[in-house]
């Protein structure tokens, strides 16, 4: 057993850390304050290959493994949660389905530009009435007869979609009919941003992750060629469950990055801030918060790495990914909360970055399956019962 990161993963981590601290950290505050999507930074990291880390080279990506991807998202999240979410949504949710079930032509046309960083991707699953119950999709797609297999006409809407308005390619799910047992048949589609009848609606005002865009997708008779059906008709639900399994690893990694940022900020603060004539870090009440943060973060990181490793070994990683995401996101909320406590009043004001980490971390308990949904997934696997 070797618990050291392989050499190229260390080089990747150092490279990303270096770029994030030298080039990105100085612009974070301004973007967050102005709620501005970091177009220029995204363009640069695209050139460096960060927008297709686990996608094979012949599909436009960097051809690294899931472990490398998790290490990268952690390092990005450690400096900037918004950028971590932008990259995770683009990679796992935007590129992921095309890599998994895309045809050769679809990969050529859509995946290569995305994985090589020229086009941002997004994934539209959630709807106003279909969140945790993502099978409750109301958006419908019907096939209109015509040349070249006809045209899919999509009506409906999506909500809370990361990278909305900035993506060039959207992967979305829609109901394409009913199965014999009466359950909905859900299929996935590739929707280019300039599709007639498709538009981006309102962007959300959020608690955190202010520089990432979260918005509505509106379909009113949006027309896409039959060739843009992604995977088999009716396979959309199965595909997205597999995509979410992988995506959870990246949200877990983002959570670890945010938690680590909170710890990184708290250690020097606890060593230098003095009260009662001594550093506050010499009070057990403070020191033990740091001890707990450090311990939990280490455990969370190991769970994330293990899930990534299982995936890279081609083994079943669904349970491990749900456990990693659940634990890491809750650690992230605890650790960022503790960081504010360590900083006292200074932690509550925007002069120090820890309040941002706290606001950003909360999303990791919600996106790509809430903590409750992760517990359902885990409990069902362990009990073999239909837990509801």
């Amino acid at each position: 057993m070797d618990l050291d990161l392989p050499t190229e993963h260390q080089l990747l981590r150092d490279t990303i850390r270096d770029f994030m601290t030298s080039e990105v950290a100085p612009v974070v505050d301004q973007h967050e304050r102005e709620r501005r999507f970091p177009i220029e930074i995204v363009r640069r990291i695209g050139e460096l290959g960060w927008l297709g880390i686990p996608i094979p080279e012949d599909e436009g990506g960097a051809g690294l493994d899931t472990l490398a991807y998790a290490v990268a998202i952690e390092e990005i999240g450690r400096v900037w949660g918004s950028l971590g979410l932008i990259v995770a949504a683009h990679t796992s949710l935007g590129c992921g389905p095309l890599h998994l079930v895309g045809s050769a032509e679809q990969k050529q046309r859509y995946l290569i530009p995305m994985a090589s960083g020229e086009v941002i991707g997004a994934y539209g699953l959630t709807e106003p009435g279909a969140g945790s119950d993502s099978g409750g999709t109301r958006t419908i797609a019907r096939l209109e007869e015509g040349p070249n297999g006809g045209t899919w006409v999509i009506d409906g809407g999506k909500r809370f979609i990361t990278n909305a308005g900035h993506a060039g390619t959207y992967i979305v799910t829609a109901k394409t009919g009913l199965r014999d047992d009466g359950s909905p048949e859900i299929s996935a589609f590739i929707v280019p941003a300039d599709t007639p009848g498709f538009s981006v609606g309102r962007l959300e005002e959020k608690l955190g992750l202010h520089a990432s865009a979260t918005g509505e997708l509106v379909f009113s008779g949006a027309r896409i060629p039959a060739a843009n059906l992604l995977g088999e008709r009716g396979d959309g639900f199965r595909t997205f469950l597999r995509i979410l399994d992988g995506g959870r690893i990246s949200i877990g990694a983002l959570a670890v990055g945010l938690a680590q940022a909170a710890l990184d900020a708290s250690i020097p603060y606890a060593r230098t801030r003095e009260q009662f004539g001594r550093p506050i870090g010499t009070f057990q009440g403070v020191a033990f918060m740091i001890a707990d943060m450090a311990t939990e973060i280490e455990a969370a990181r190991q769970l994330v790495w293990r899930a990534a490793w299982l995936k890279d070994q081609g083994r079943d990683y669904g349970l491990a990914a749900a456990q990693a995401k659940l634990f890491a996101s809750e650690v992230s909320s605890r650790a960022t909360n503790a960081a504010i406590q360590v900083h006292g009043g200074y932690g509550y004001v925007t002069e120090y970055p820890v309040e941002r980490f706290f606001r950003d971390a909360k999303l990791t308990e919600i996106g790509e399956g809430t903590s409750q949904i992760q517990r359902l997934v885990i409990a069902r696997r362990i009990l073999g019962l239909r837990v509801v």
Binding site: T7, E8, L11, L12, D14, T15, D18, F19, E47, L48, G49, W50, I53, E57, A62, G63, L64, A68
Partner: protein, 264 residues
């Protein structure tokens, strides 16, 4: 264009933990090593020059360093160098600048090149003498403090802008030549992830003194021409004052600060 870049692994200056062992030599285990900062600028210049004329171009890294060096050289390979040559031998421990130059010159004799690029100096030794000494051993033209490098391959010459106290000098020499590089050449690139992947399979050849046909008794610590007698850590810097506010407020505060100390 075939370019050899001289790169030295040095203790990471950002770690702040650089220290000497009891024998006055650097404690290399104390801090992680990185490629000397100036050498990354030299490498960047080499990569730009070869990208401009890719046909038959290659960039070879040459390093004399302890056995752990390949790990450090990976980053330089990931930036885009073609291959590495690593000279290492137990007899080289404690080498002075003269030995270092002798060994690098011997290694260069076994390589084919149009240009050799080096950093102007290192962040650990700071000698700034190795490049000139290597050029002297090989009888190569030596162009120092380069701020711009313009080879003319058909003519077989290279022009260099050398930074001078009053501006710059324009130098020209036949190739092959050795050039010491300043940061004015331009910021080194970040390795791309594809570069990191590609670096895995790039060759780092190891050379011993025997491979270079050098007599071990003529180089290394035993015949060092200089000796470190003592070292002193500079006093810790006082508290830093960060000036915030509008440019006018900032300027006023800085003037006050300097005036209080009778600097202006």
């Amino acid at each position: 264009m075939r370019i050899v870049v001289l790169v030295k692994p040095v203790p990471d200056p950002a770690s702040g933990g650089e220290r000497l062992g009891a024998n006055g030599r650097l404690d290399r285990a104390a801090v992680p090593a990185v490629v000397n900062g100036n050498d990354e600028y030299a490498l960047e210049a080499a990569l730009k020059l070869t990208a401009a004329a890719p046909e038959g171009s290659e960039v070879t890294l040459l390093s004399m360093a302890p056995a752990s060096a390949p790990e450090t050289l990976r980053k330089a390979l990931a930036m885009g160098a073609t291959r590495g040559v690593h000279v290492t031998d137990p007899a080289l421990a404690g080498s002075c600048a003269v030995s270092t130059a002798k060994v690098l010159a011997a290694a260069l004799k076994q390589l084919e090149f149009d240009l050799v690029l080096a950093g102007v100096d290192t962040s650990d030794g700071l000698g700034g003498t190795v490049p000139a000494a290597v050029a002297a051993y090989l009888g190569l033209p030596f162009l120092s403090y380069a701020a711009r490098i313009e080879p003319d391959e058909p003519a077989g010459t290279v022009r260099v802008r050398r930074i001078s106290p009053t501006g710059y000098d324009l130098l020209e020499a036949p190739m092959p030549a050795l050039i010491s590089c300043t940061q004015a050449l331009g910021e080194p690139r970040y390795p791309t992830l594809k570069g990191i992947m590609a670096a895995r399979s790039k060759e780092i050849a190891t050379r011993s003194l025997a491979d270079l046909e050098l007599d071990p008794s003529t180089v290394g610590g035993a015949v060092a021409t200089t000796q470190v007698l003592a070292t002193k850590v500079p006093p810790a810097r006082g508290a830093t004052e960060v000036v915030r506010g509008t440019p006018d407020e900032g300027a006023t505060r800085i003037v006050e600060f300097l005036a209080q100390r009778r600097i202006i």
